[in-house]
Amino acid sequence: MEANKHKEPFVRIVKRDRIPLWIALLIRLAAILLSLVVCALLIYLITHSNPIQVYRSMVDGAVGTGRRTWNTLRDTMILLAIALAITPAFKMRFWNIGAEGQILVGGIATAAVMRCCGDSLPTALLFLAMIAASLAAGLIWGLIPAVFKAHWNTNETLFTLMMNYIAIQLTAFFSIVWEAKKGSGTIGTINQKTQAGWISTSFLSDIFGNFNYSINLIIVLSITVAMFIYLKYTKHGYEIAVVGNSENTARYAGINVKRAIMRTVALSGAICGFTGFLLVSGSSHTISTSTAGGRGFTAIIVSWLAKFNPFVMILISFFLVFMGNGATQIASEFQLNESASEVIIGIILFFILGSEFFINFRLIFGKHGKEAR
């Protein structure tokens, strides 16, 4: 009888009651440091160069010059915007992994308006039309899976995932319909001559000077504050929290759960669509199947790690983009593939995700290990 032998379990796992903030922060910091050490080791193994040197060129790659800093900031803002967009749905436990698609349709809508009305509409109206179109497109893309989730409990993770690829094909379709040169399969820069519908050249840039992306920055930071207020201080935000916590309590409180799900995911999709507008009008001035570039997925991780707190998302977005852009720099310096950045970000994410365990649980070694209470 093997089980009859008197053995103590080596280690037991117990849920923590509460943890002081500084310990939680310390654990996360330790995880990040550890991940950087592992990355350094990997970099050393591959490049045989001094990791400190490599990290230094990473910093250089991310914020080494004014232009790089602006690029890093621009990318941070885009990632942040997407993370903000999916947060309300996420808080409701609606796993919207369809941000990629919602961004793309928003981008397509923006591009369509830019192409069609770029010459005919006055600037202010043009922008209004672009924004409205991008919001509407993202909203519809988000609403479709939400309707099915709300009424028939159709799995939203898988549904939104599939919607991404439909959007990608749609983008591919328009890439050919609108292609710049016959057979190129790319749209090329939209309104190259007139620059109509470009955020950076619009009337606003007179106010903000030469920093092309400062408008993006201001817009996204405003969304951050707005989202914080929306989630914490509005009735809608309250409903989101209640539905996310317990659907029964929500019904008890007289919340129309179906409507709340649809409304929230529609909002989520609309902001994603708006991000598509920012990408097309604000930076790339074109659209392709790689416009979203996997950021819809990374944003989920950002939102999750920030525990849905918009301000924490700023930090995390910045950190991830910083590391990513830095890694791209070392990749080109050492003639390595630029995917190095995804590898490094992946490793860092693994460590941060793993560290959450030590924040939520406590290990007890041996049977009679005294519990510190």
Binding site: N4, K235, A241, N248, T249
Partner: protein
């Protein structure tokens, strides 16, 4: 070989800072049925979960057949011949009875020979006289069939000690009788059986000895033949059962709620309520008795607009005399019609409260819509939280501390406090004192009486007959979704109510 099948010594188990079991010792002999008696929340289930390998004790020793053992998992428990039938059955809905029975077992070969398995199980079921379709899927089964699967599953694993957690809570009297017959047959086979229950008449009917737990501590063990319902109750609650709950005379009772021919179906289309009609009066407490699952939950939820039903639920405002039909309404519509209705549901954190929020967030569950602004009103909920915290003595580090982490009593005070703060005309409570200590229970009774004296119609669904008899003005007894009687609580007896509770399908 010793006579004791199992011996527990000094078992302690904590959840966070809450002691679920403290220094519990217990023995079970071979060939006996031991009742483990205790109020809700006295730690019976936790203790047994440590025998079945679900929990691991923080300290203490367990002996099986006189040898000290360590039970780290259900696998260890089975190897020692211990099998537990949980209150919430641990069955896979999608599997057949036979598949559930052999689940997790090593067979002769890694491939399942279903024919052989069915023959093996049939031998066992024939021996004890179980009626069981082994190829039926669990999702198609009745509660009693599921329980049978669980019992066969344990026997098939060669369990010598069988633990049953509240096995009769969901059974009809006939099913209970049948279960007891099976248990007696197993006792004759020399198996040891532990029944967790709080129903005294069953304890007296089936067991050889009774062990009593109170608030996580072991109180004592008595031979059933020397025990009476009264002596057991005393040990269980710790003091003489002179509850002495106040019962003021109703003053000018006015009709508040009139339910007519209310019928309501559960998700499988079975009638959970069958033509229920009654009236609740402002200024009185209407107690509702019945064994668990007789339609209490459905009744309250239908009135509160959380379930669909047919028939009529007429609400009359005692002050204005305005009448409103509540059938087909949802909670929001009911609120908007100005019907002032308060509801303390059974599953407090699952319905009624938001576990991750602090007190103010939970106060908003009822009030967050107030005002025309899109923003939430922050000040009033905070003030209300402070007020409830002080008035009802809620123990919490801060009003912003998530209520999920508070003890059951404090959670209940917050919920009841909020519902009463709304100055309702109708107050419905389901198992309002479940899991609460005696003092907290009394403060809840007191609150209910206060409401009654203010002219509120109070509906009190309870499980403790003593309390129902002393607190209510009238008692409505539900049995299988039908009303089996409405009696005057001042003149009726416990026996009469008990009989009505089990008056199945007779002339009802």
């Amino acid at each position: 070989m010793t006579e004791n099948a199992i011996e527990l010594k000094g078992i302690c188990k904590y959840f966070g800072i809450v002691a679920a079991n403290e220094d519990v010792s217990l023995t079970v002999r071979k060939g006996e049925i031991l009742s483990l008696l205790g109020e809700n929340g006295s730690g019976k289930t936790t203790l047994m979960n440590m025998l079945s390998g679900i929990y691991y004790p923080d300290s203490g020793q367990i002996f099986v057949d006189g040898k000290e053992v360590t039970i780290r998992s259900p696998k260890d428990a089975y190897a020692l011949g211990i099998g537990m039938i949980h209150q919430h059955f641990k069955l896979i809905d999608l599997f057949t009875a036979a598949e559930n029975i052999i689940l997790g077992m090593d067979g002769k070969s890694p491939v399942i020979n279903m024919k052989e398995v069915l023959e093996d199980i049939s031998k066992l079921t024939d021996r004890y006289g179980f009626q069981l379709d082994l190829n039926k899927k669990v999702y198609d089964m009745s509660v009693s069939e599921k329980q049978t699967v669980e019992i066969v599953k344990m026997l098939y694993r060669g369990a010598n000690l069988l633990i049953l957690d509240e096995p009769t809570a969901v059974l009809t009297p006939q099913e209970t009788d049948h279960l007891f017959e099976v248990l007696r047959k197993m006792r004759e086979d020399g198996k040891a059986i532990i029944i967790i229950t709080h129903k005294l008449h069953e304890v007296l009917a089936i067991s050889d000895r009774v062990s009593i737990l109170r608030k996580g501590r072991y109180i004592g063990t008595v031979d059933t033949k020397d025990a009476t319902a009264l002596s057991l109750t005393e040990m269980m609650v710790g003091e003489k059962v002179a509850l002495n709950i106040d019962r003021p005379e109703p003053k000018h009772p006015k009709k508040c709620l009139e339910v007519k021919n209310l019928t309501c179906r559960n998700k499988y289309g079975v009638k959970a309520l069958d033509s229920v009609s009654f009236t609740a009066m402002g200024g009185e407490i209407l107690g509702i008795a019945g064994i668990a699952g007789s339609g209490q939950k459905e009744l309250l939820e239908t009135i509160a607009g959380l379930q669909d039903g047919e028939g009529s639920i007429l609400f009359t405002d005692p002050d204005s005399g305005k009448e409103e039909e509540l059938i087909g309404m949802d909670p929001l519509k009911i609120q908007k019609m100005g019907v002032s209705l308060a509801f303390v549901p059974e599953d407090r954190l699952g319905m009624g409260l938001v576990g991750d929020m602090g007190m103010p967030g939970n106060m908003m569950v009822r009030s967050y819509r107030s005002g025309h602004s899109a923003l939430l009103e922050q000040k009033k909920p905070r003030e209300l939280s402070e007020q409830i915290k002080n008035d009802l003595g809620v123990i919490t580090p801060s009003i912003h501390y998530p209520v999920r982490r508070l003890s059951g009593g404090n959670v209940q005070k917050i919920l009841v406090g909020r519902e009463i703060a709304n100055t309702p005309k109708l107050l419905m409570t389901a198992y309002a004192v479940r899991g609460l200590d005696i003092n907290t229970s009394y403060s809840i009774y007191h609150l209910l009486n206060e409401q009654k004296e203010q002219g509120v119609a109070v509906i009190y669904v309870g499980e403790d007959l003593d309390v129902l008899l002393e607190l209510s003005d009238r008692i409505l007894v539900l049995c299988g979704g039908k009303i089996s009687g409405i009696v005057d609580a001042r003149t009726t007896t416990k026996e009469e109510v008990g009989l009505l509770m089990t008056k199945h399908g007779e002339e009802a």
